[in-house]
């Protein structure tokens, strides 16, 4: 079997084998979507919460697979010397990273399909803009994979675990996902809309409605999507000791 595909398959199989990965990738976004759309808990701009929540949860799903799953998985592989062992095979870095990227996109496809299905059952009425949706997923993945690998490539395994989960929680609560950036008070709202989560939620909303004005969110996310992978690439150490 071709090394790239074997490695991709390995990445997917091993991450599905870990219950907590599935929980983060699918369980939490679906649970939040159902819960927040049924319980009137948070301030909402509309009286149809699912319309607002569905794009936000799509953004959350992208963040959880590309930052949390990828970052924590890679961080432990580095911490325990798995990456070092792979470094003395002909696999090579490009194919290892390629496998991780393909595996992440594969999981995101499953996430988008299942979240959309649940949202539709809850009465969501999206107007798909497929090109914009693809762009949002690609830019979001580049951004959050960069952030996840930035942490994974510089911190020790346990510290990275804490940092990835902590950042996930902070961005979920204050980054424009659980509460829309426009509903956050004053400066907090401005900060949230400049964060990659806020921008990704905006893009996801545009991609599932007939909104045309995505200029600012697109620019913000594009900047993140360039800066964070570069930061990860320049700081990543394949082994904590060498």
């Amino acid at each position: 079997m071709n090394a790239l595909w074997a490695q991709t398959r390995n990445e997917v199989v091993l991450s599905l084998r870990q219950g907590e990965q599935l929980l983060v990738a699918l369980g939490i976004p679906i649970l939040l979507l159902v819960f927040l759309s049924q319980v009137d808990l948070l301030p909402r701009a509309t009286d149809r919460p699912v319309d607002e929540l569905a794009p936000a949860m799509l953004a959350l799903a992208v963040m959880s697979s590309s930052m949390v799953s990828l970052g924590i998985g890679t961080g432990f592989e580095r911490h325990y010397g798995v990456l070092k062992r792979l470094g003395v095979t002909p696999l090579g870095r490009p194919r290892l990273l390629g496998a991780k990227v393909i595996a992440t996109f594969g999981i995101e496809v499953v996430q988008v399909l299942s979240l959309s299905l649940v949202a539709l059952l809850l009465g969501w009425q999206p107007r798909w803009q497929p090109a914009l949706l693809l762009l949002a997923v690609v830019l979001g993945t580049a951004t959050f994979a960069g952030l996840g690998l930035l942490l994974a490539g510089t911190l020790s395994g346990p510290a990275n675990l804490a940092a990835c989960n902590g950042l996930y929680l902070v961005l979920l609560l204050f980054g424009g996902i659980a509460v829309p950036a426009s509903e956050l008070p004053g400066p907090a709202g401005a900060v949230a809309s400049s964060l990659p989560t806020g921008a990704l939620v905006e893009l996801m909303r545009a991609a599932t409605t007939d909104t045309q004005s995505v200029g600012r969110a697109l620019i913000v996310l594009a900047i993140w999507a360039v800066v964070s992978p570069i930061a990860a690439a320049t700081t990543f150490r394949w082994s904590p000791s060498t």
Binding site: M1, A3, N10, L14, K84, R85, V88, T89, G92
Partner: protein, 311 residues
């Protein structure tokens, strides 16, 4: 052409010189062991061959190639067992060997390989549930799966039970017969004596001696006759009788600097018989690899089982 060439390799980490002007080579079908106490620079040397570290000065070549600049090409020829290496915690041996097989152009059959290392019954068990010895066996299998020309084993028998040690010995012998160049590190003399064709003794980053175990022992051989007798023995009189110096390194142990021929042994025993002195523990001075090692490094190789840490 040697499969492994190390030419005046020096590795410095800040003020520490881990490897100092080390030169060694190993050919196809040869097993070379790097023997030395912990911290001698064995792992650092091996990591230069694996392309993890760039030499401060000097060169290393694996299959004629530079492991840093020709990394990918070297990796296709090299099989590696790292010291204390972990794998994906949820991967099963069957999956691991298949995955690694996919990295190489002409891999061994994964299931046959698992059988060869005695893991066929454990092929479906997650890595974290394998015993330490089973994890070592899997690591050995992964080193072999790509049909490498050069195999580097860093402390392959550390933490293995007797059965595991026998397995490593058998596989190393098979590799030698297949014409593979095997380079291994160890601080366990017994293993090295059984595994290696040639031994390089390394201490404080320097090569102290290199040769077959028998050659090294022969070079260190000093003619002597060693015996135990009461400490009151008259050394001067015995020395005069034998025409050689008599030493008493510790009370009751005597060393005579003569070639231990039957004639000198007879001279000694008759001298003792005349004086009715009880003799015990007569031995001749054949040096072992351990003597060589002790003399060169001043440390005992077998006592310490800690793992070597590269700086």
């Amino acid at each position: 052409m040697p499969r492994v060439e190390i030419d005046r390799l020096t590795m410095r980490f800040g003020p520490v010189t881990a490897v100092d002007e080390l030169s060694l080579h190993a050919d196809a079908g040869e097993v070379l062991a790097l023997l030395g106490p912990n911290g001698a620079g064995k792992t650092t040397t091996v990591e230069a061959l694996e392309g993890f570290r760039t030499p401060t000065s000097g060169t290393v070549r694996v299959a004629g190639l530079d492991p840093v600049t020709d990394h990918d090409a070297v990796m296709a020829h090299l099989g590696v067992m790292l010291q204390s290496c972990r794998l994906y915690s949820a991967i099963k041996p069957r999956e691991a060997v298949r995955l690694f097989a996919s990295y190489y152009r002409r891999p061994l059959d994964p299931m046959a390989l698992l059988e060869r290392v005695g893991l066929q019954q454990r092929a479906g068990v997650a890595w974290r549930k394998l015993s330490g010895g089973e994890q070592q066996r899997l690591a050995l299998a992964l080193a072999l799966v790509g049909r490498p020309e050069v195999v580097v084993l860093d402390e392959p028998t550390a933490g293995l039970d007797v059965e595991g040690r026998l397995l490593v010995r058998r596989i190393v012998a098979e590799l030698r017969d297949e014409g593979v160049c095997v380079l291994l590190t160890s601080h366990e003399l017994d293993e090295v004596e059984k595994l290696a064709d040639r031994v390089a003794i390394i201490d404080q980053g320097r090569l102290r001696a290199v040769g077959t175990p028998a050659d090294l022992a022969a070079a260190a051989h000093r003619p002597e006759l060693r015996f135990r007798a009461p400490a009151s023995l008259d050394r001067a009189a015995l020395a005069a009788h034998l025409g050689a110096a008599v030493d008493q390194p510790e009370p009751g142990t005597f060393v005579v600097a003569v070639e231990p021929t039957p004639a000198t042994v007879a001279q000694l025993t008759s001298w003792l018989a005349e004086r009715d002195i009880a003799l015990s523990g007569l031995s001749t001075g054949a040096a072992s690899l351990e003597d060589v090692f002790l003399r060169l490094t001043g440390t005992s190789p077998t006592m310490n089982t800690d793992q070597e840490d590269a700086p």
